[in-house]
């Protein structure tokens, strides 16, 4: 049972992940853009942040960098969920400080495994 923040502008995917995580018994917070995700992270201190790269107002890279720069938030594991699969894009995500980069489309198995891995790290 963990508190997981999802930052994703695509409603369907947001709903999918929320459902899947809830199904596995996690508490889920959702944000539709980078700025609200940042505010929510500051306020709620989730156990894990899953974020899209391409989002309105603030993109995932920037959000990740902010989390990792913050003394208070640095410990929170971050994973990107993105359809951007080019090597340079993946590298940019990891450079921003993310622990994982999960390529869309992913299977729910993959998602579950990644979440478990990050929470237990």
């Amino acid at each position: 049972m963990a508190k997981i923040l999802i930052a994703e502008d695509e409603r369907d995917i947001r709903e999918l992940i929320e459902f899947a995580l809830n199904y596995n018994g996690h508490e889920v917070l959702t944000a539709v853009d980078g700025v609200s995700a940042w505010e929510l992270t500051m306020a709620e201190l989730p156990d894990l942040v899953l974020l899209d790269v391409r989002m309105p107002r603030m993109d995932g890279y920037e959000l990740c960098r902010r989390i990792k720069r913050s003394e208070k938030l640095r410990h929170i594991p971050v994973a990107f969920l993105s359809a951007k699969g080019q090597e340079a894009e993946i590298q940019a995500g990891l450079d921003a400080g993310a622990e994982e980069y999960i390529l869309k489309p992913f299977s729910l198995d993959q998602l579950d495994q990644a979440v478990e891995r990050l929470l237990n790290a």
Binding site: E10, I13, L16, A20, K84, Q86, P105, F106, S107, L108
Partner: protein, 973 residues
């Protein structure tokens, strides 16, 4: 991508071709503007290039070759040619002795010209005993084989050795080559050195290049002198025919002839000696061209005794040249010394006067200048013209004699019984007729027309009933009728007349004219199957051109004894004139042909030169040529345009001076050029690089530099520049498009896939079996879509060259084991029985490849085999070493691939009939990706299959093995 590579290759090939021409004219033009050394020597002032050391001045080799070409392109005469050739060689190659043997047509020998020291500039001609003679055995070998011969150590070539006569010169290393002009051998060029192992293949290449220039020069010279000789003869013949008008005035005639002959052979002094039967001596005839008449009239009476060498010349009809008269002992024996001294002659040419049967004297041609030597060509011209002169001189002499006789004979009425043709009027008539014939002969170059008219005139004159001219054709030895006269026309011809046994053949082969009073008694006539009743008497004379009988004239009459000796002599004179006319016509055609040939050679050279320049200038791609010192020697107009630099600002500067501003690509380009020039051995197989320059205005330029190598000698580089800004932009847009599209596809796929997973997890309630089955179908199709998108992105990246490989040593066994796991996993997963076998020797070397990409290649192939092999089948992987490559087979016993499909199987989106029938899922991109990846590894891939189900197919990839050098390189990184 492939097409683009091909295009690049063509451009580079074209550039390499052009550089040969281009560098040629650059070096030529730079030499003409550059300062020459003080003695006007066009060769570099440094002595022989040190070809022993690796750091040889390569551009000097090139420029020496170019100088050689330039010096030899228009040789003035043979000695200039020989001097230029030997001098050029001494700048190019090491030797203790060099010998240029040139074929001499007159003697049929190869005359040696040799230089006994690289530092000497005077060559020696001839075969004197005081100079070393290279082995005739080698010369003989070269002439026989018509190629070059390299003997680094002469002791080692047993197969040539036995023929060798090495002479006194103890050489140990030998290099020679044959000089050929088209198919004809014109000489040999041979070098020898006292030290063994002096010569190598590089020297051989250089010698061959130099010998080609020399052979070309010999051809030019030959053509030039032949042409000159033809012109001399042609003009001479016309002049002599013009002189015929003076036949009534012997002195003027002789003056005219002497003048003509002297001019034609370039003699200062020319005199005619005529044979006098009464005194059995040769008597000088006044006037004497260019000299004092007194010299001849007073002194030149030469007894033609057999002891006098002059009589040998006169008798044997051979010319004689002495270009060192002062020292010549034969002059004394000829009793010509007083003449030579009085006329102050230094060079002398003597030719017989008159043709073969009726020699009437000799011609003396001399020069007061010792430098003005006579050539064999001069002698031939003079000998040929003298044959034409003799009938005129004879006619003139006869006319004078007869006029004299006329005066004495009128007092003696008994002499009226003489035949008509012996009367003075007859003689005059003949002389006039001869003149008319002469005029006729010179009136046209149409041989057949001239022959018809001449036959008619002559027949009329000697009262012949029928006549004909037979000539040998250019090819073949059977005579042909060229002209005829008489009522019965060609009826005079009998079958067999054309054969060598007939009468015309006889006079030709015996070089003698005949007068036959009774043909029925003559075997040469009777040997022919003919009706001899019609013709009773005949005159037959050969037509001589040069030394050769080219035909015969035949005149017949129906009465016995119709012809007299005088008529025979007249016909002989006519035949001489006819010979001259035929030769004249031949020469005219030869001259026009030669002129045409020279003209077209010149034209094509001009066209070639302007074409090369035009091609270089009009290529849209820029061309930069650097020499071996990485200095720019050519900067084409397109290069100026593309790089925005003026040619005059960069030519002559090292390439590094301005290339630094073009970023990393420019530096790598300059580095490559520097590496090639500093270490030519590093070139190895001709390497083609591609670099990109990014200009300040965001334009992108691609560069393909390539080394320019002659033999194993690095001479420079050629770089092709192309503005590829547009292509780069298009490519960028394409990748962007593909990336966007795939991103946009993946997002909805995430939802589909995720919710199907949720439903299948019974996360929204339990599913009925059919619902579950339908969802499984959606899931598998989503998976297919996912693969397609992945492959699309992959191929787009590969083709845009964005994928870079990181090479490392890969263990073949490990790779194959991974494939085994892969197959076994799928076999288990899909419950499809496929057995798997590996055959690979333990000792197989490691592969040089990118781990992920090689895995991808093998997995793709194995997946394919798996998909197309029914349950119970087998996949075998076989690895082996083939030279520097590792070959890996993926063999299955599945459906196989038909031949037509094999040709298309590596195309993008191609899917075979079988895959559609079997319902095997796939994108049609797998093998296209594999092909791309294999080629990026500098490997090859091919497929073999009989297309028979159950016999399967074999895919083979060939990838480079890790070499020791690679290992070191990898280790250093």
């Amino acid at each position: 991508m492939l097409a683009e590579d091909l295009l690049v290759f063509i451009f580079i090939a074209l550039a390499l071709l052009l550089i040969g021409i281009g560098v040629g004219w650059i070096l030529r033009s730079s030499r003409t503007t550059g300062a020459k050394s003080s003695d006007g020597d066009v060769f570099p002032t440094t002595p022989a290039i040190d070809t022993e050391t690796q750091a040889s001045p390569d551009s000097e080799v090139l420029s020496t070759l170019q100088s050689l070409h330039a010096t030899l392109s228009h040789p003035e005469d043979l000695s200039t040619l020989v001097e230029g050739a030997l001098k050029g060689i001494s700048h190019l190659l090491p030797f203790d002795i060099v010998e240029l043997n040139l074929f001499d047509r007159t003697t049929g020998h190869f005359i040696p010209h040799r230089l006994c020291s690289p530092r000497s500039s005077d060559f020696v001609t001839g075969m004197g005993d005081d100079v070393y003679r290279l082995g005739e055995g080698y010369t003989g070998w070269l002439i026989e084989h018509r190629e070059s011969l390299l003997l680094p150590d002469v002791a080692e070539r047993g197969d040539v050795q036995p023929k060798v006569r090495r002479g006194k010169f103890p050489f140990k290393s030998y290099l020679g080559t044959a000089l050929t002009d088209r198919d004809e051998i014109v000489g040999t060029l041979e070098l020898a050195h006292q030290e063994a192992l002096t010569y190598n293949h590089r020297h051989q290449t250089l010698l061959e290049a130099a010998s080609a220039a020399i052979a070309l020069s010999i051809t030019n010279l030959k053509l030039h002198s032949q042409h000159q000789q033809f012109v001399d003869e042609f003009v001479g013949i016309t002049d002599i025919q013009g002189a015929a008008a003076w036949v009534h005035e012997p002195e003027t005639l002789l003056e005219q002839l002497s003048k003509t002959l002297a001019t034609r052979v370039g003699a200062d002094v020319l005199g005619l000696l005529l044979y006098n039967e009464d005194s059995q001596s040769l008597i000088g005839q006044p006037p004497f061209f260019g000299g004092s008449a007194s010299i001849l009239t007073d002194d030149l009476v030469l007894p033609s005794s057999p002891e006098n060498p002059l009589s040998t010349i006169w008798q044997t009809q051979k010319y004689w040249i002495s270009n060192t008269v002062v020292e010549e002992q034969l002059i004394d024996q000829m009793e010509l010394r007083p003449f030579v001294e009085k006329a102050e002659i230094h060079t002398l040419l003597i030719t017989p006067l008159g043709g073969d049967e009726h020699r009437i004297g000799a011609i003396l041609a001399g020069n007061t200048d010792a430098e003005s030597v006579f050539s064999e060509g001069d002698a031939e011209v003079l000998a040929s013209l003298s044959r034409l002169c003799s009938p005129l001189i004879e006619a003139s002499q006869k006319l004078t004699r007869d006029q004299g006789a006329d005066e004495t004979e009128t007092a003696d009425p008994t002499s009226g019984a003489q035949p008509a043709e012996e009367t003075p009027t007859g003689a005059l008539q003949w002389a006039e007729a001869l003149l008319r014939i002469s005029a006729e002969l010179s009136s046209s170059l149409d041989v057949d027309r001239v022959l018809e008219r001449t036959l008619a005139l002559t027949s009329e004159l000697i009262d012949a009933a029928q006549a004909c001219v037979l000539l040998l054709p250019q090819e073949g030895d059977s005579l042909q009728l060229r002209a005829s006269f008489g009522e019965r026309g060609p009826g005079i011809l009998r079958s067999g007349m054309e054969s060598p046994e007939g009468l015309p053949g006889w006079v030709m082969s015996h070089n003698q004219s005949v007068l036959i009073d009774d043909l029925s008694q003559d075997a040469r006539w009777n040997s022919l199957e003919n009706d001899a009743q019609e013709q009773r008497s005949a005159i037959a004379v050969p037509i001589i051109v040069g030394d050769e009988a080219i035909g015969a004239m035949l005149f017949t009459h129906s009465e016995l004894g119709a012809f007299a000796l005088e008529q025979q002599r007249l016909v002989r004179s006519v035949a001489g004139q006819v010979g001259g006319a035929i030769k004249n016509a031949e020469l005219y055609h030869l001259i026009s042909d030669q002129a045409e040939r020279l003209g077209s050679m010149l034209r094509s050279q001009q066209i070639e030169a302007s074409q090369s320049r035009g091609i270089l200038n009009s290529i849209a791609d820029g061309v930069i040529v650097t020499d071996s010192n990485h200095e720019i020697i050519l900067f084409s107009p397109s290069a100026e345009r593309i790089l925005g630099l003026a040619s005059e600002n960069v030519v002559g500067h090292p390439v590094f001076d301005f290339i630094g501003v073009y970023g990393a690509g420019g530096t790598r380009w300059a580095d490559a050029i520097r590496a090639w020039s500093e270490n030519p051995a590093s070139i190895g197989q001709v390497a083609f690089l591609t670099e990109q320059l990014e200009l300040e205005d965001n334009r992108v330029i691609s560069i393909h530099p390539a080394p320019f190598v002659l033999g194993d000698e690095f001479l420079g580089t050629v770089s092709i520049f192309r503005d590829i800004s547009r292509e780069v932009e298009v490519d960028r847009l394409k990748s962007e498009f593909v990336a966007t599209v795939s991103h946009e596809l993946r997002t909805p796929m995430t939802s589909i896939k995720g919710f199907v997973d949720l439903l299948l997890m019974d996360a929204s309630g339990e599913l009925a079996d059919e619902q579950r089955r339908f969802l499984e179908i959606i899931r598998s199709n989503t998976f297919r879509l996912e693969i397609l998108v992945g492959d699309l992105l992959d191929i787009s990246h590969l083709e845009s060259g964005k994928v870079t490989l990181s090479f490392q040593a890969l263990d073949v066994h490990q790779l194959l084991d991974e494939m085994r796991e892969h197959v076994e996993h799928r076999s288990q997963e899909e419950e499809k029985q496929i057995s798997f076998q590996i055959e690979a020797p333990q000792s197989i070397p490691k592969l040089r490849g990118d781990l992920e990409r090689v895995r991808q290649i093998l997995a793709n192939l194995v997946e394919n085999s798996f998909n197309f092999t029914p349950s119970g089948g087998m996949i075998r992987m076989r690895a082996r070493q083939m030279g520097n490559q590792i070959e890996i087979d993926v063999i299955d016993n599945g459906m196989g691939i038909s031949l037509p499909e094999q040709e298309r199987i590596f195309e993008r989106f191609f899917r075979g009939e079988q895959s559609l029938l079997l319902g095997v899922s796939g994108t049609g991109l797998g093998l296209a990706i594999v092909l791309n990846l294999v080629e990026m590894h500098e490997g090859r891939i091919w497929v073999t299959s009989d297309g028979i189900p159950g016999k399967g197919s074999t895919f083979t990839i060939s990838l480079p093995a890790m070499t020791a050098e690679d290992e070191v390189e990898e280790g250093g990184e």
